[in-house]
């Protein structure tokens, strides 16, 4: 199976969907001539032309709104935000237009749009450019949120997102674009709303998504050497969440750690813990613990940034705590 980068996998997904359906177009800052700030749209302008790969001005609210309108009119736009930090300027179009239109039009207008771009902290980009917005977006009824961690997942989920008739937010990872993984030659889709078991184990569940799925897999591999076997549940789709996969795993392992990139308060992990306590209460042998970013704006200083981020060591410590191995 070919090994390609996360960036190339997304590029393949866009190219395949644009070739398959001429209603699909891309719009965003630097997506055309510059081939994308992170080169995800490389070569697409040449291949599909200016009508389908549209360089926008630096005006997130404006091009997001154009995207929503064009989707209502029958196109299938893919709106690229240079990062989700910048998308805050466009949040009104995401939350108030895209997410609400089907409901408020009484089912007359669906909005088949994809908002995508890098999410979460990279390295030393400062507090304003190092934020993970999963919980902001997943909070909203009317949009779906996916967060792929591997090239395979990125391609399969983006293709499904483009084909979905509802607004879908795709949270990519700036630090992931260069990561590599196996992606098959043949076409495939990953269904929205289905989690993926990345490692199979019986001792503790780690429920996670996106970039943190890679951390969870590292944790599982390290702990396997200590004869601790982790069930890694990569949610893939944060909304709608595959709760059955969570229940099945936690009922098996009887303990869980929820790992996420964002902040603690009202985070994705809080929601996962809530599902677990309601549905798996009698199966729990320990409180469910969470690993997340420290509850501070992301520090710029390298050492402080490292301390603030969730990582392998913190996750291992949490796993050992729920296993009473400390």
């Amino acid at each position: 199976m070919p090994i390609i980068t996360y960036r190339e996998a997304l590029n393949q997904a866009l190219r395949e969907e644009m070739a398959r359906d001429d209603r699909v177009y891309i719009m965003g800052e630097e997506v055309g001539v510059y081939n994308g700030a992170y080169k995800v749209t490389k070569g697409l302008l040449e291949e599909f032309g200016e009508n389908r790969v549209v360089d926008s001005p630096i005006a997130e609210l404006g091009f997001a709104g154009i995207g929503v309108g064009s989707a209502m009119a029958g196109l299938r736009p893919v709106i690229e935000f240079m990062t989700w930090n910048f998308a805050l300027l466009a949040i009104d179009q995401v939350v108030n237009s895209a997410a609400k239109m089907l409901y408020m039009s009484g089912g007359q207008f669906n909005v088949p749009i994809v908002f995508r771009g890098p999410n979460g902290a990279a390295l030393q980009l400062g507090a304003q450019h190092s934020q993970a917005f999963e919980s902001w977006l997943a909070h909203i009824p009317g949009i779906k949120v996916v967060s792929p961690g591997t090239p395979y997942d990125a391609k399969g989920l983006l293709k499904s997102a483009i084909r979905d008739d509802n607004p879908v937010v795709v949270l990519e990872g700036e630090m992931l674009y260069n990561t590599k993984g196996e992606v098959p030659d043949h076409e495939y889709l990953i269904p929205l709303g289905k989690a993926d078991r990345k490692r199979t184990g019986t001792d503790c569940s780690i429920i996670t998504s996106g970039k943190m799925a890679l951390v969870a897999m590292q944790v599982a591999d390290l702990l396997a050497k200590e004869d601790i076997h982790i069930d890694v549940i990569d949610l893939l789709t944060i909304r709608p969440m595959d709760v059955e996969a969570i229940y099945e795993s936690v009922r098996k392992t009887q303990r869980a750690v929820v790992l996420e990139e964002g902040w603690e308060v009202c985070g994705i992990g809080a929601q996962v813990v809530d599902y677990i306590q309601r549905e798996c209460f009698d199966h729990l042998d320990a409180p469910v613990l969470r690993v997340h970013q420290a509850d501070v704006p992301m520090p710029y200083a390298k050492g402080l940034e490292k301390i603030a981020k969730p990582d392998v060591a913190k996750t291992i410590a949490a796993v050992k705590q729920v296993m009473y191995r400390t």
């Binding site: 009887q254 209460f281 009698d282 199966h283 729990l284 042998d285 320990a286 009473y324």
Partner: protein, 418 residues
Amino acid sequence: MATKIFMEALSPTMEEGRLVKWNMPEGAAVKSGDVLAEVETDKAVMELVARGNGILRRQLVAEGVTAAVGTLVGVIAAADEDIAALVSGAAAPTAAVTPPAAAASAAPTATSTTGAPPAAPAPPAPASSGPTRSSPLARRLARESGIDLGAVAGSGPAGRVIKRDVEAAVSGGGATASAIRRLPSAIGAAGSEYTDQPLTQIRKTIAKRLAESIGPIPTFYLTAEFDMTRAVEMRAAMVAQGEEYKVSVNDIILKAVATALAAHPEVNAHWLGDKIRFFNRVHLGMAVATDDGLIVPVIFDADRKGLRAIAHESRELAARARERKLKPEEYTGSTFSVSNLGMMQIDQFTAIINPPECGILAIGALDDTPVVVDGALVIRKRMRVTMSCDHRVIDGAVGARFLLDLRRMLENPLMLVF
């Protein structure tokens, strides 16, 4: 000035007490001498009285919880008095086993140098008593396997009982094995062969104190002299009916003991360390001397067998015992035993209890003895029996009541036809 309420030693031997009931709610005004709570000691339910005036600010031990003597169970103080330091020092009952003064002496370092409020309460120490901390899974597993969580030692943080503790208790492994105690709902099902009774405080105290005094089995002896005249007459009458009806006096004794045991399960029991098993069936051991030594074959369900069956079975078992042909299952499982040295002309003796049984009856010789009956001196067939009793299970009066019934049956053997 705040007044600490301690679990007091309400009996001379009390080491811990169960707080049965708070008579006053938090916030109630109390004055010295008011009865604050009822406490079950090792002997009785006693009153815990207030030693100061004020408001009952905090109840630190919940109803139903057992706390060691010296444990801080509550605080009386003025309505606006800061009692945080007192309460935080209380922590779990084990912490309070150390006199509270020790906990208090740890604080001054922080307060005297900085003047800051006392440090945040330390995490509670593992609780030796008090509400059992447990994971939901541990609770479910305990429920499913009929284990009382309160009797399982927790290995998790702050003594939390977790899955591995329950599993260890169920499998009987580890230190918690002896802590297994069946839930009341799990015992005494209709028609079961026995009833398990968890040890009460008073039973625990009796067991502990008496075992300290004498051996691992604190034994005492009850001796009674029975008039066997009628039993001997009955036997003679039966023998006269022919070989088929030939029974021994010992057979009549076995039958009477079995019948009396059926009416007295309180002496038909096994001591199992953390509980007493009272049997609803009577499996009677009979000591048989062989060339190799003593062996005790068992007449199972002896209370349900007639005299003829017992006579036949005892003869047959004794014969095979002497030939060393008993199978292991034929000399295990007895619930009470009888040892008879009467045929060896022993007037009376004490037999040693065969654990986990709790009693054994030693039968002495049958002798013509002058006794006074209705003011006249007459010669009667008399026999002395001595019952060895495990005092952890059988108290003197309990053993005596059993012997009283046994006496009635042997002195009026027609009762055995009932």
